[in-house]
């Protein structure tokens, strides 16, 4: 394994990633000096692009987000059947241009009318590619196609503004990954953040893993609110003083300063994957994590970046016999030896790492027999699982394929215990969806904190929630047009055929360019984050 030179870390004297050492291997792609992208934060010349600092910007979205009325209950026991969902705030993943503008322009309406609504500002690099709450729900991280990570922090409850709790504001922004070029294979490596996973908090700093197609990075996000003053050899501006002019010595003291949030890359786990990484998952032992690409799964230790264990390898000896690839993988939330991975054939394999070093032989194999009446050209594509998630209890797994969400009991392998149709009206449109590539969209699915409700996205900025207990489901829309602040979301309905009622939308008028692939649910409260292209919507449950 090759540990690339930590070009991304400027504090090489203090940073851990410099101490790991470099072992040169002939296969290592040379690090292209990354030019500072236009959107990189704080363009100080010595600052490398992947290290970001940002002042804690009070990005107030103005009266648009002011809460009114009674606050929502904090319990997640209500499920989705007894409450309604209100929009808390809509956040744009800000580019640097937007950030600078926002500092000057406090008036929300002006912002809304000028460039937030202006599609020319929504570049492809701003498309959100992953959303993840941390373990307490206080922080919400998003990754986008431009390789940036933006972390939002929940506003603290204050006596003056009791009702403002629940809003999320920008906490930190940094450039996690840069586009790279693999000279050996003549391939460009996208900087798009595929997944972000938080580590549980063990000290004052926050740690998260972010990955693109090839490289996983461990980032430390820490606050700094004090700085040392009173150096002897440097004056206040940092200029060196002539030692001859120093007559007295003083002890530097720490003085408070404006809060600054820094993000530093602590580990870079590179060069372990030939194929594109699609998932990462932190183990419940908090010491290891796994990264999965199309054909292999590697087990890493957080401290060791130049080695990883390969625990699953489904690459056939002859690539022409390839029939399935790994699409997602996740560790069991409590059992540190158990993990599952899903395949493009619609199967899930549960593996126990105690059985053998290489977990090619599964411990459990979950597959539902195919319904022969539904066969079509595209049966294989729509049965490919795009996401797999353990329930918080660890008893169930949920899988998402193109048209359905399925809940499986770990104790029953031959079929799922629940199947929910997300947008079955698309079944007759598969050919068109194949043509415009929508059939390859990888939707994610999430559990709520109590495992009673599951949520997944759809097209036209619709997202669906299914209550497992009451068997109720709802379709909601995350859109700018009909989302006034604190407004209750109106359930939407897609009319399949025949007579279209007044509020329904017909299948043919769905906008397939507006898709909700990534959603996240607060671990303990009924707060959800929904990513629609470059917008992040945060909704909160409100029970009267």
């Amino acid at each position: 394994m090759h540990q690339p030179p930590p070009a991304s870390c400027s504090r090489s004297s203090r940073c851990e990633c410099a101490r790991v050492g470099v072992r040169v291997s002939a296969l290592a792609p040379s690090q292209r000096p990354a030019p500072l992208p236009a959107g990189s934060p704080a363009p100080l010349p010595p600052e490398p692009a992947s290290r970001g600092t940002s002042a804690l910007l009070p990005v107030r979205l103005g009266p648009w987000c002011s809460p009114t009325g009674s606050p929502a209950p904090l319990s997640c026991e209500t499920g989705c059947g007894e409450g309604s969902w209100i929009l808390v705030c809509r956040l744009l993943v800000p580019t640097q241009v937007n950030l600078l503008s926002m500092e000057e322009d406090i008036d929300t309406r002006k912002i809304n009318n000028s460039f937030l609504r202006d599609h020319s500002y929504a570049t492809e690099a701003d498309i959100i590619s992953t959303v993840e709450f941390n373990h307490t729900g206080e922080l919400l991280a998003t990754g986008d196609k431009g390789g940036r990570v933006v972390i939002f922090q929940r506003e603290q409850e204050s006596k003056n503004q009791v009702h403002r709790r629940g809003e999320y504001n920008v906490y930190s922004t940094f450039q996690s990954h840069e586009p790279e070029f693999d000279y050996l294979k003549s391939l460009e490596i996208e900087e798009k953040i595929n997944k972000i996973r938080w580590l549980p908090q063990q000290n004052a700093a926050y740690f998260l893993l972010s990955t693109n197609d090839k490289t996983v990075k461990l980032w430390k996000v820490s606050e700094r609110d004090k700085r040392p003053e009173g150096y002897n050899l440097k004056d206040e501006e940092g200029r060196l003083r002539d030692p001859a002019t120093i007559t007295t010595l003083r002890v530097p003291v720490l003085r408070p300063m404006d809060l600054m949030v820094e993000a530093t890359p602590r580990r870079v786990f590179a060069n372990a994957h030939t194929y594109h990484i699609n998932s990462i998952s932190v183990n419940s032992d908090y010491e290891t994590y796994m990264s999965a690409d199309d054909l292999r799964i590697n087990l890493w230790n957080f401290e060791i970046t130049n080695q990883s264990f390969n625990i699953v390898d489904i690459k056939p000896a002859n690539m022409e016999e390839l029939t399935e690839v790994i699409t997602a993988a996740e560790f069991h939330p409590h059992h540190c030896n158990t993990f599952v991975y899903s395949s493009s054939k619609g199967t899930i394999r549960l593996c126990d790492m105690r059985a053998s070093a290489l977990c090619d032989r599964h411990t459990k194999f979950f597959e539902e027999p195919e319904d022969p009446s539904n066969r079509s050209f595209f049966s294989e594509i729509i049965s490919s699982i795009s996401d797999v998630k353990f329930s918080h209890s660890g008893r169930y797994i949920m899988t998402r394929d193109y048209l359905t969400v399925k809940v499986w009991d770990l104790n029953m392998e031959n079929r799922p215990i629940e199947t929910y149709q997300v947008h079955d009206y698309l079944r007759s449109k598969l050919c068109s969806l194949y043509e415009n590539d929508c059939i390859f969209d990888k939707f994610e699915c999430v559990w709520n904190g109590s495992d009673s409700v599951i949520m997944t996205g759809s097209y036209n900025n619709f997202f669906r929630m299914f209550d497992r207990n009451t068997k109720r489901d709802v379709t909601l829309e995350a859109s700018r047009e009909n989302s006034k602040p604190r407004a209750i979301l109106k359930p939407r309905k897609v009319c399949v055929g025949g007579k279209r009622r007044k509020d329904e939308i017909s299948v043919d008028s769905l906008d397939f360019s507006k898709k909700i692939l990534h959603t996240a649910w607060h671990p303990s409260e009924n707060i959800i984050a929904v990513a629609a292209t470059n917008n992040l919507y945060i909704f909160q449950d409100k029970v009267n």
Partner: protein, 306 residues
């Protein structure tokens, strides 16, 4: 009949996707190309097993708009075939059933992507009609070494290994264009063949120049960059099917002149399936300002006034 049109259309769309995947940022995506190859395989299976074999759809630059495929339609096709997952095993049986080494003389051989070598096409052209889905499946599957063995007999291409045999043979035979796209269809996801792969692209490049495939020599430059692999070296030397897909594309690009132009724009044209009329929600549905108790749906409760 409609099925053949639909299958043919799907095949051309799939080829366009594979063609375009090589220029996509981030490299070729294994998962997507695998799925596309599966669709290709299914479509070809439908195409071949259709009872009217003489249909030659080449030359139709714009495919007539096929009827919207009903999910049940393909099942009207020989249903037995659907139940077959693409197994490696039948392919091993392929050399036994393989009648002839390539002679791509069948003019009415389906222009659809034909994964076997020309030998398969000739034999397949007639024999497949009567064969069971099993064999058709096997024929459609990615044939490697057995195929090469057949190919060796015809051409003087040395048996270098799986992927080597077919394309050079293709190039040398002018009439081979329809069949040249054989065997490559389900191979977009392939990586390094176990045989020395470096020879394969170079041979293609040389043969391609001679074969007059316009798109080929330029495209073959990419596989030439593949590092030579000594047999057995596994770690780290793996490719991501770049070379093979590039060859695949070059074959398709030059063969399907009627369906796909050689320029990259041609492929995109085929697969430009923009959703017609993705209008926004009707304005009449925006009504979140006033508190309204709409219906018994628990999700629509009173709105807290601002």
């Amino acid at each position: 009949m409609e099925f053949k049109l639909e299958a043919h259309r799907i095949v051309s769309i799939s080829l366009g996707k594979i063609y375009n995947s090589r220029v996509q940022r981030g490299g070729i995506k294994l998962h997507k190309n695998l799925l596309v190859s599966l669709v290709l395989r299914s479509a070809r299976q439908v195409y071949l097993s259709d009872p009217c074999p003489g249909l030659y759809l080449a030359g139709s630059a714009g495919t007539p708009a096929p009827p919207t495929p009903q999910p049940g339609e393909p099942t009207a096709q020989p249903p037995a075939g659907w139940g077959e997952p693409p197994p490696p095993a039948p392919r091993a049986a392929w050399p036994d059933t393989e009648p002839q080494p390539e002679r791509p003389a069948v003019p009415d051989a389906p222009r659809a992507v034909d994964p076997e070598p020309a030998a398969a096409v000739t034999g397949a052209g007639d024999a497949f009609r009567g064969r069971e889905e099993d064999t058709a499946e096997a024929a459609w599957g990615r044939v490697d070494r057995p195929r090469v063995a057949a190919a060796v007999a015809v051409s003087d291409v040395s048996p270098e290994g799986a992927s080597v045999g077919c394309p050079p043979t293709r190039e040398e035979q002018p009439g081979a264009s329809p069949a040249a796209d054989c065997r490559c269809a389900p191979r977009p996801a392939e990586a390094e063949p176990s045989a020395p792969p470096a020879l394969y692209p170079r041979k293609r490049g040389a043969a391609g120049a001679g074969g007059g495939h316009a798109g080929c020599p330029a495209l073959c430059s990419t596989p030439l960059k593949k590092p030579r692999r000594d047999g057995g070296e596994e770690d780290g030397e793996e490719e991501m099917e770049t070379g093979n897909v590039a060859n695949l594309i070059s074959i398709f690009g030059s063969s399907f002149s009627g369906l796909l132009r050689k320029s990259p724009g041609g492929g995109r044209e085929e697969e430009e399936g923009e959703e017609s009329g993705p209008e926004d929600a009707e304005p009449g549905q925006i009504c979140c300002d006033k508190p309204v108790l709409r219906d018994i749906n628990p999700w629509s409760t009173a709105i807290v006034a601002f």
